[in-house]
Each structure stands twice: as structure tokens, then as C-alpha cells.
Symmetry: C2
Subunit: 119 residues, 2 copies
């Protein structure tokens, strides 16, 4: 393990004003989208080199190994960067629910959508 | 259609320094994660009230109806906000490839992951 993110990967990242990219997390087996979290270079480096999903908490302003308090950790099976480098997709083995509310996925507040009229 | 995002939804959003939330887009039929884009309140409002996925382009600094130039538009079938309001998950009917490169999904640059040691 090296100390910093691979320069070839770092060069591909397009970070926001806070130096972060989005991490989309899906269940490796079912494909279900479980959550979205944030990563700086160091969080991505730790995730790729340890196989444990590690994020940057925007609210707490610190690194956060998923499951460190809840036990609901994520073993990373695969990772892929998107075409413009502002998001990474992690495929994980999710132990327990992904959401701090106890829900399996964090995306559980449905919003109303007006269907596009037929054309 | 009202002119602005429903205040009840707006109150749930937790925006970044640029006023944006992340939009994770998956294929309604297959569940495949296709792309990640960005939305401000207005983009979310337009998406929910027209049924056509509409984003904020961070690089071009303007609204962008997916497919307006490529024809590869997205009909939104469902939308859900996550538990902390910084991301929305869209389930879409994707016409053509989602990625501007012609790939079905934007997440096609695999990153190496060191597996977590067995414990």
C-alpha cells in the first residue's frame, strides 16, 4: 500500500469546490442502489487499498469507515469511475442495512413525478 | 405546474456549496446505474413536473435536458430522495446510451480494489 492515491487515478478526478467526488454505492449481488456518500482523494485511496468503504463526512468533517460504529460495514468488491471523473460507483457486500434509519437503502423518500406526456 | 420547487421538498434538501444535490440515475427496467449528474432546486422542479430528466451542468453552468442534443433522453418513472437530502435517485427509461461516449453507462473506467483480508 502506498501513502497516497495513485497519480493516474488522481489525474482523472474532477472534484467539487470542497475537493470531493460522489460515491454511489450499490449492492454487489442485487444491484440495488443503497446510498450516496462523498470522497476526497484520501478516502478513495483508503477504500481502494483496504477494500473497506471509507468516506468523507461533510457534516462531521472527518473520515468515516462505513460501519465503524453501526457494524454495518461495506466490503468493496468492485469500483468504477465515471466518464468525467466526478463520481465513483462501488459494488459492495453490505452487512446489515445501509441506512442509519435501519432501512436497507437510504433512498426511501419517494417524490411525486408528473409523467411526460405521450408524443 | 407551479413555478418553483415544492417548499416541502425544498426544505428536505441539503445542498453543497454550489447549491447542488447529486442525482443518481438508474435504468427503470434493469436497475443498472447509468450516470450521475447534478441538480439545483430548479432542475429538480423541472424534472419532477415534466417527467424529463433535467440537470445542472457544472462545466457549462446551465440547465441541460438530458438528450436535448443527443436524442438520448430519459423519461423519469420514479424519484426518491435519500435520508439526508443530498441525493436523489431517478429511475428512468433511457433512450439510447446514457453516456456521451456511446457506452450504456458512464461508469466504465474500472479501478483496482485490494480485497479486505479475511477476518
Amino acid at each position: 500500500m502506498t501513502d497516497t492515491l495513485d497519480p493516474g487515478i488522481a489525474a482523472r478526478l474532477r472534484r467539487d469546490a470542497d475537493g470531493l467526488i460522489a460515491a454511489v454505492v450499490r449492492d454487489h449481488a442485487s444491484g440495488e442502489v443503497l446510498m450516496l456518500a462523498w470522497m476526497d482523494d484520501e478516502a478513495l485511496h483508503r477504500t481502494l487499498t483496504t477494500g473497506r468503504a471509507t468516506y468523507w463526512s461533510r457534516s462531521r468533517r472527518r473520515y468515516w469507515v462505513k460501519g465503524e460504529t453501526s457494524g454495518h460495514h461495506q466490503r468493496v468488491r468492485a469500483a468504477a469511475l465515471d466518464c468525467d471523473g466526478d463520481a465513483v460507483l462501488l459494488s459492495v457486500e453490505q452487512h446489515g442495512p445501509a441506512c442509519h434509519t435501519g432501512a436497507r437503502s437510504c433512498f426511501h423518500h419517494d417524490l411525486p413525478v408528473t409523467p411526460e406526456p405521450a408524443r
